[in-house]
Amino acid sequence: MAATDGEVGHPTSIPALLARNARVYAAQPAWREKEFGIWQVWTWAEGAAEIRAIALGLMALGLERGDHVAVIGRNRPALYWSMIAAQMCGAVPVPLYQDATGDEMTYVLDHCGARFVVCGDQEQADKVIEVQERLHHIDQVVYVDKRGMRKYDHSRMNALADVVAEGKAAHNRFDAELDARIAELNYDSTCVMLYTSGTTGKPKGVVLSNRNIIETSKSSAGFDKLRAGDDVLAYLPMAWVGDFIFSVGQAIWTGFCVNCPESAATMMTDLREIGPTYFFAPPRVFEGQLTQVMIRMEDAGRVKKAMFDHYMKVARRVGPDILDGKQVSLGDRLAYWIGDKLVYGPLKNTLGFSRVRVGYTAGEAIGPEIFDFYRSLGINLKQLYGQTEASVFITQQPDGQVRSDTVGVPSPGVEVRIAENGEVFYRGPGTFVAYYKNAESTASTKDAEGWVATGDAGFFEEKTGHLRIIDRAKDVGKMADGRLFAPKYVENKLKFYPSILEAVVFGNGRDRCTAFINIDLTAVGNWAERNNIAYSSYQELAGHPRVYDMIKAHVEEVNRSVAEDPMLAGCQIHRFLILHKELDADDGEMTRTRKVRRKVIEDKFADLIAALYDGRDSVYTETEVTYEDGRKGAIKATLKLMDVAVAPDASRRVAA
């Protein structure tokens, strides 16, 4: 039955690989989900049977070849199964961000023309029903969690359990047709369609073929020697390409087990219980964990604190070298071994990293201190650089060549080149097929030879051959006097301080740079508590004079560090303010993957930016906010503006 292509010598579709796994790894765990306090397990054989039943049920509901099946919800085996079941039927799965607002969801559902929608629970079903009033092509809604759904009109709606039961009952009728549809799938059929988060404009539907997903999974799994028996925790949004590669592509290629947490709130507990061997997290997760550890160590007893400090010093000195297999003296090895028994081992266990063999971070720059902290504990944390259009992997760091300021060497099979203006281009087997219903964007992104523009500016280090990314190519600008303006470079340096959650730097076309700062409530709140600073709200804490003083010291440190790089010395911050609200995706200020939307912020806070440049000491402002349930409100505040000392720029005289 498996559609094995003679040319590549292995199954060429996800359903065919599933059939292989059900045979080869039959009794090995394939999916786990914590429910009712216990980890429920499905083997490859059991999971394959479930998926087949879902596929039969979807056919009974009338799913046709080429239909789009939207999938919305938190990471659950049932939703992963639905995606594979849709592929079996010849349809295209389209996972969506579960925290998307009604409008965002309407756009995507309209654009892909979904006929079927699979929802995790009532919350998602409600959104879809609302959208359904406007979009009549949504024919069938299927939901996983039955709770609260009893009273709904079920004329075009079904519980997944019922779909499965119906599929099993009707298997005689559809078996042959389903097998035929599975056999039709080949390397060029569409595997999945993923919408980009869209820092600019509307999201675009990236069409990825079986070739893209399977080739990428094959080479990346080989790169890191992933194998059956590995465990991953599936907790990142299903709509994100990374989750699809890790939890579907690589999992089904190598036959490792995908573990789904009980709920978003229990993720840390579940992480500890599973102890994944292969782990991915955006920098903010690592930052959050480190902040937690540091806060708890501040409150620890004196002996414990001294022990922690001493052995962390040892770890920082020799840990990374031991991890990279470099030469380390016997005495240091012994000290590290003792430290491992006393501090690192228990700490890794608390964090859930005891078994991690390969860990990745990407999406944003990670602070060197944070990166080194994890590596010094003996956790093999690496960086990769990728995007949806590349099926994730463009470059990644090989074991033993890991640094916090590069993103590694080109992934196996991927070619990378730097254009004259500094923009990074790539092509490879993972390069996407097209943007759905958007030939114009496809043509402007991917040229005839298959080279794709990343939109990022970067360069290869001559000595190591590693790629370094500076900023988004379009964000890199010029200041009034012609010097280079790279906001992200400075923002990242600012964000490495635990008390700064987010920073936005302005200065394109101006004579000097200024910044908005968002404080991190956890870190600053804890600091305030220890220093007896009373506050009643985020806004009050953000405006506190001592918080301003602390942030000012951070900004000045960053200025000194920026001034060391002659190319970027113009980007020093002259003046800043601390925002009275957290930048939020619900207000459109950030993307769902927490990337700053510069244009939106520039428009929305135009009054504040003006104040940063006209020399006032304070500014009054009113800001519209959107609550989680969609209602709107306004917050008023008077913000302080603060000047910062600038380090002398050796190359040029500082203007103004």
């Binding site: 709770r147 609260g148 009893r150 009273k151 009980e262 709920s263």
Partner: protein
């Protein structure tokens, strides 16, 4: 609302309400010379959400205590499932399928959320103290079965992340939810809620409303609740009893009650000449 008869009725949103589950006949409750409740009659039907409202000191909590069997009225009769109820011990009440939450949270602060909810199943446990202390054989199996039920409740009320947290460390709104969980763990037929939203913010109230509706919908549990927040009561309940100074001044659907002149007077006050 459709015409009501002994068979029950159908609510505006299409739920079927059954026959009478509990009937209060001419209840009068006195504490010494003080009459807390004077000659009140009403019924609670299978599957409905029944609210008791009234200004401060109207006798609402006393009424709830009569329903739960904690107070025995001096006059009047309580009929439950077609039988007149004799004075009972609290555990007998629990065995009849009645569970409640309290206005001032009554949880074991030092115990974990899970253990607190497990106490809700105490009356359902069959093994004796000795067997449980040895924790072997039947006792072990029984605990597993009970834990399974408790986990269903934890999942239902979405408190998985605080399962192992001591109750004392939880914020107020979550404690209320844990109390509801403990009551639900007893798998009650009739659930009594004493001011379930008191002291909550808007978001917590909305959550609690949803849970109450879901409990009623999912398990078919009959719910009698006391509440101060008029908006909540009107949205939530099928029928409302209004009390003032220990007397019943209104009874009917939220709309009927809202337009009742006595109720308006009691809540907004009347001008005295």
């Amino acid at each position: 609302m459709n015409a009501m008869n002994s068979e029950g009725y159908t609510t505006a949103d299409g739920r079927k309400i059954g026959g009478v589950m509990m009937e209060m006949k001419n209840i009068t409750l006195r504490f010494g010379g003080v009459k807390a409740i004077t000659d009140i009659s009403f019924d609670i039907r299978e599957g409905e959400i029944r609210a008791i409202i009234g200004p401060n000191g109207a006798g609402k909590s006393s009424m709830l205590n009569v329903i739960s069997g904690f107070y025995v009225p001096q006059e009047g009769e309580v009929w439950f499932h077609g039988q007149r109820r004799a004075p009972m011990k609290p555990y007998e009440v629990a065995q009849q399928g009645i569970a409640r939450t309290f206005q001032n949270i009554a949880l074991f602060e030092g115990m974990s959320v899970l253990d607190n909810i497990m106490t809700g199943r105490l009356t359902l446990m069959k093994t004796g103290l000795f067997q449980q202390a040895m924790w072997w054989g039947r006792a072990q199996k029984e605990e597993t079965a009970h834990r399974e039920k408790v986990e269903k409740v934890i999942d239902f009320l979405e408190i998985q992340d605080i399962r192992k947290t001591p109750v004392g460390r939880l914020p107020y709104g979550l404690k209320k939810r844990v109390e509801l969980a403990r009551a639900l763990a007893a798998e009650p037929k009739l659930l009594l809620l004493d001011e379930p939203m008191a002291g909550m913010n808007v978001e917590e109230k909305e959550d609690m409303c949803r849970f109450i509706l879901d409990v009623n919908d999912e398990f078919g549990t009959t719910i009698a609740l006391i509440e101060h927040d008029m908006g909540v009561v009107m949205d939530l309940s099928d029928r409302v009893v209004v009390m003032d100074y220990g007397k019943k001044i209104g009874d009917g659907t939220p709309d009927e009650v809202r337009n009742n002149q006595d109720v308006i007077n009691a809540y907004l006050g009347v001008a005295h000449d």
